[in-house]
């Protein structure tokens, strides 16, 4: 097994562990924290996939910037949406 293969298999194992965690968390009585935990684990999985499987660790800063631009826009949009819906009484 080459070094690259080993890294990919380790990332896959980490992804499976995170899947197990998020599934377990969905059964725990976490209340309002549950979606936060599940989406947080989703982001952790996405970071692993982007960084290792999608080669972000080996490309230039410019490409990394392009990769996060879409994500950042969506995060900003959801933050602005939240400032409306979560503050309504």
């Amino acid at each position: 097994m080459t070094a690259h293969t080993r890294i990919f298999v380790l990332v896959w194992i980490a992804l499976m562990v995170l899947l197990g965690l998020t599934l377990t968390a969905s059964f725990l009585p976490l209340g309002a924290f549950k979606p936060v935990a599940n989406i947080g684990i989703g982001f952790a999985k996405a970071v692993l996939i982007f960084w290792f499987f999608m080669h972000l660790r080996e490309v230039s800063g410019l490409v990394r910037l392009a990769a996060v631009a879409g994500v950042l826009s969506i995060v900003l949009m959801i933050a602005l949406i939240s400032s409306d819906y979560l503050t309504r009484l």
């Binding site: 999985k45 490309v59 879409g70 994500v71 819906y85």
Partner: protein, 211 residues
């Protein structure tokens, strides 16, 4: 034939051309992220406005098939990542095997999704499935329809991904995409495949785990 990629105008060197290839692909993927991200933001609003209904509808979804499908898709990404690595090492036969495995896992995902849709149709959850729809409240139907549109839009992307990977496997097998000279083609198809995986990584908690 050289192992180095052919450098086309306006690029001066292979590394510069490769960076442009990646940049272009990532900008395209950003538009895909915006498409699914905007959609999932709307689902977020539905969940905030109708927390009870969303939770009750999520309990009607098949959590175990959905979770298993997540594992299938994550494994297909591993297979794709290995194919990309092997394509850089010019191991043609091994690349074709990994690409075929990726495709098979993608088809397995679609089959399981089809079984889920059929179950939901039988239970009367789907629009137009007749009979007594168990989802009586407007918020419940809204959440289910969002689930249906989100997962089918994802499935459509996966079908495109499977078509791309199958053409790629065929071309690599016939040396029409010579490796490692054209390894960038495998890399970029890989990026698309992994993005479909990332989209599912968010669809899964937002719908299935909204219990």
């Amino acid at each position: 034939m050289s192992d180095q990629p052919a450098v086309h105008s306006p690029y001066l060197e292979a590394a510069q051309q490769r960076e442009a290839d990646f940049l272009g692909m990532y900008i395209f993927l950003a538009t895909e992220i915006m498409l699914f991200g905007g959609f999932l933001a709307a689902v977020y609003v539905v969940r905030v406005l109708h927390p009870q209904e969303a939770s009750e509808t999520a309990q009607q979804l098949n959590l175990w098939l959905g979770s298993f499908n997540t594992a299938v898709l994550l494994t297909s990404s591993l297979s794709m990542a290995l194919a990309v690595q092997l394509s850089r090492e010019a191991k043609r036969r091994a690349v074709v095997i990994r690409l075929c495995l990726t495709m098979a896992l993608g088809l397995a995902f679609l089959t399981i999704k089809g079984v889920e849709y059929y179950q939901e149709y039988r239970e009367g959850l789907m629009p137009f499935s007749g009979g007594l729809n168990p989802l009586s409240k407007p918020g419940e139907q809204l959440f289910f329809n969002f689930y249906l549109v989100g997962t089918s839009l994802h499935a459509l992307h996966l079908m495109i991904g499977i078509a791309l990977v199958s053409v790629l496997a065929w071309r690599v097998a016939r040396s029409e995409t010579p490796l490692p000279r054209r390894a960038v083609t495998v890399e970029l198809v890989g990026l698309y495949w992994h993005l479909i995986d990332v989209v599912w990584v968010f669809i899964y908690p937002i719908f299935y785990l909204a219990r």
